[in-house]
């Protein structure tokens, strides 16, 4: 059985790994929508029309910004959950150590 301080360390490392994974996923969406749909694929997407605008043009001037707002909202919500989970784990470890 690993010691309490090892398990605290492990819980912190898990929290940090999840934090980094979440950040990378959100940044992948960030790049795909803005630099991907808004720039690299803009000429191809312009063949389609969305709410009266060519799609590539729409991504560059509307879609990217809308996605950014949603990304930061998701980040704040999920990170809050991760932090609460770590707090819960650490409290449990402390209780076990106290027994």
């Amino acid at each position: 059985m690993p010691s309490a301080s090892d398990r605290i360390q492990a819980a912190r490392r898990r929290h940090w790994r999840r934090n980094v994974t979440l950040t990378l996923c959100l940044l992948a969406v960030w790049a795909a929508v803005s630099l991907g749909c808004g720039v690299l694929l803009a000429d191809a997407l312009n063949a389609y029309t969305f709410v009266g605008a060519p799609l590539g043009f729409w991504f560059a001037q509307q879609g990217a910004v809308i996605t950014f707002v949603i990304l930061i909202l998701v980040y704040a919500l999920l990170m809050g959950r991760l932090d609460r989970r770590l707090k819960h784990e650490l409290e449990q470890l402390e209780r076990e150590a106290g027994q």
């Binding site: 000429d43 560059a60 950014f68 980040y75 704040a76 707090k87």
Partner: protein, 607 residues
């Protein structure tokens, strides 16, 4: 009541409001002065960040730039807001956890180097002063046009107001005045564009109005714009990658603006003012939410004003020219030099010979008067005497109206009520002042906290530092004001420089400082110097010495993206060869990664 009367009324009322708010929030210690006592609620900080963020460039220039560039204008929208995502996800929560006052503070402590601190400090000062100069120019334009006072008087009034509330309230005063300024600027931005969208398309939501049919012709607005553009020799409005904006340049410019924006010191410091890490994340969300309200509307403003420019100018005779053209003509931001047929012709680069609409640019009023007389003589003599003024202005690159007037002139173009026009003027001032005050505080804290207290005299008492901070703001205001009164002719290039520098220095060094425990002093400093050196030499050689764009044809605005890569690459290659960070620095990284309210994390260090 006239436009001028309304403007006086609105400007007086809003300035009174700002001073009242600042007086209510005045402070007496450095904690309150620099970081508002760390007690600002997340949503209030979000609103203040939005106002801090949205400068005169966002309010006055951005829609105008999009209006002239069409698709390519989107790089500014994506670049500035996309940078905010990087800031909110990669930097803000961790720097808040670090808990010091400034960005150079973090760089100096994490990489245990006074050199790193000094380089970061100089970058912060350069970026901030460049930015302040732009704000003061915005103040000057608004005052000159709407209050018909001299630009100098206008700038002095603006300086006095900023000075009073920044020195009185420090960060706390600035935060709460910025909240007030946000509401002024957003209302001023939205009311005219909603009215115009309704008027042109019968659709009150401007974002939808942009894609709707015009009630006059039944044709889609964007289709109409594309058609006018191709008829008159402009590059297409919605088609990407036209002219000098090829794919490589759009990509690099967007990326450089993103990384550069994430490194702007006056926005990062806003996250130091909230209670904890959670609040920093939520204030990031509220900030982008309030920013997006303006940024999603700006493309609509751009399309509508583009349509009005053609509608109200092209093919009109002397008598038919609208009132707004007359008033703006006096400022020299739009002028007309006829070819003799008595009708205005506004053409793009492909038909540049036929274009008759220009701006005075950096030509003085006298020089331009002379040119106008020469042009009249040239017309009267049928080309035998005088000079063709159009060719002269075309060669100077002064074709078309100044893009900064689009937002301010649009309510007049659409014939909206006088009070709406005045409201837009007050909004432009709010945008300029809110950003200027945030920047002045960064300049003051950089000089007094980072330079004087951390590097020169660590024994300075709290009262001395507070007094010095107020003096530093005073000096910074005067320098910024001088920039506004005597604007350097190369503001646009310097701004590209500021973003490039922030992208190639701050952003990589902050990301590495937080996400790596291996990068030590030497790789960080060498990487930062290499990034800055590459970017600065490229911009200097291409912009100021007419050198070739040898790096894939990338323009000076986009080169920061490559500079950032250089910084990361150099630091990454040196890391295995050099000594890693000390135990202390490693512990510091561990501390900023732990969410602070878990009970077992070490207590936050004092400053």
């Amino acid at each position: 009541m006239t436009v001028q009367g309304w403007t006086f009324l609105f400007v007086a009322c809003t300035f009174g409001l700002y001073l009242f708010v600042a007086w209510r929030a005045r402070v007496r210690d450095t904690g309150g002065f620099y970081v508002a006592g760390r007690g600002v609620p997340a949503i209030a900080n979000g609103i203040a960040t939005a106002a801090d963020w949205m400068s005169a460039a966002s309010f006055l220039s951005m829609a105008g730039i999009i209006s002239f560039l069409g698709y390519a204008g989107g790089v500014y929208l994506m670049g500035w807001t996309g940078g905010f995502v990087l800031l909110a996800l990669l930097l803000a929560p961790y720097l808040r956890k670090f808990g010091h006052f400034t960005v150079p503070d973090f760089v100096g402590d994490r990489f245990e180097s006074q050199t790193a601190r000094l380089v970061a400090l100089l970058c912060a000062l350069f970026v901030s002063f460049t930015y302040v100069a732009g704000q003061m120019r915005g103040v000057g334009i608004v005052f000159a046009r709407f209050l018909e006072v001299d630009v100098t008087v206008g700038v002095v009034i603006g300086m006095a107001i900023v000075f009073v509330y920044a020195t009185l309230g420090g960060m706390k005063g600035i935060t709460y005045t910025q909240v007030a300024q946000y509401w002024v600027l957003i209302v001023a931005f939205l009311i005219p564009v909603v009215a115009i969208s309704w008027q042109l398309t019968g659709q009150p939501v401007p974002q939808l109005g942009m894609g709707s049919e015009l009630t006059s012709s039944g044709q889609r607005l964007l289709t109409t714009l594309d058609q006018i553009h191709s008829d008159l020799g402009f590059t297409s409005y919605t088609e990407p990658f036209t002219g000098s904006w090829d794919k490589v340049n759009v990509f690099c410019t967007a990326l450089a603006l993103m990384a550069g924006t994430a490194g702007l010191p006056h926005v990062i410091v806003r996250f130091y003012t909230v209670k904890n890490v959670q609040a920093a994340r939520w204030s990031g969300f509220w900030a982008i939410f309030f920013i997006a309200i303006l940024y999603l509307t700006a493309p609509a403003t751009a399309a509508f004003s583009r349509y009005y420019v053609f509608e109200s100018l092209h093919g009109k005779t002397e008598q038919q020219l609208p009132e707004w053209f007359r008033t703006w003509e006096q400022t020299g931001l739009v002028v007309w030099l006829d070819d003799g047929d008595g009708e205005v012709a506004y053409h793009g680069d492909a038909q540049a010979e036929q274009n008759e609409v220009f701006r005075r640019g950096s030509l003085g009023a006298d020089a331009f008067g002379q040119l106008r007389d020469d042009h009249a003589a040239w017309l009267a003599s049928g080309g035998a005497a005088g000079v063709d003024g159009r060719a002269v202005l075309r060669d100077k690159g002064l074709s078309g109206p100044d893009r900064d007037i689009m937002v301010l002139a649009m309510p007049e173009m659409a014939g909206l009520a006088a009070w709406i026009i005045a409201l837009v003027a007050a909004g432009g001032l709010a945008a300029a002042l809110s950003t200027a005050s945030g920047l002045l505080l960064v300049i003051s804290s950089s000089v007094v906290h980072d330079l004087y207290y951390r590097m020169i005299r660590p024994t300075a008492s709290e009262r001395q530092r507070l007094k010095l901070s107020r003096i530093a703001i005073g000096v910074a205001v005067v320098i910024a004001g001088l920039f506004g009164i005597y604007p350097p002719g190369f503001v646009a290039q310097v701004v590209a420089f500021a973003f490039g520098l922030a992208a190639s220095s701050f952003f990589p060094v902050l990301v590495m400082g937080i996400f790596s425990v291996r990068v030590g002093t030497v790789p960080a400093v060498v990487g930062m110097v290499a990034g800055i050196g590459f970017t600065a030499s490229y911009i200097l050689s291409t912009v100021f010495f007419g050198g070739e764009r040898w790096c894939f044809g990338i323009g000076p605005q986009g080169i920061g993206a490559v500079g950032m890569g250089v910084n990361f690459a150099v630091a990454g290659l040196l890391t295995p060869l050099c000594r890693g960070p000390s135990e202390e620095a490693k512990q510091m990284v561990a501390k900023i990664r732990a969410p602070e309210q878990d009970g077992t994390a070490p207590p936050a260090a004092g400053h």
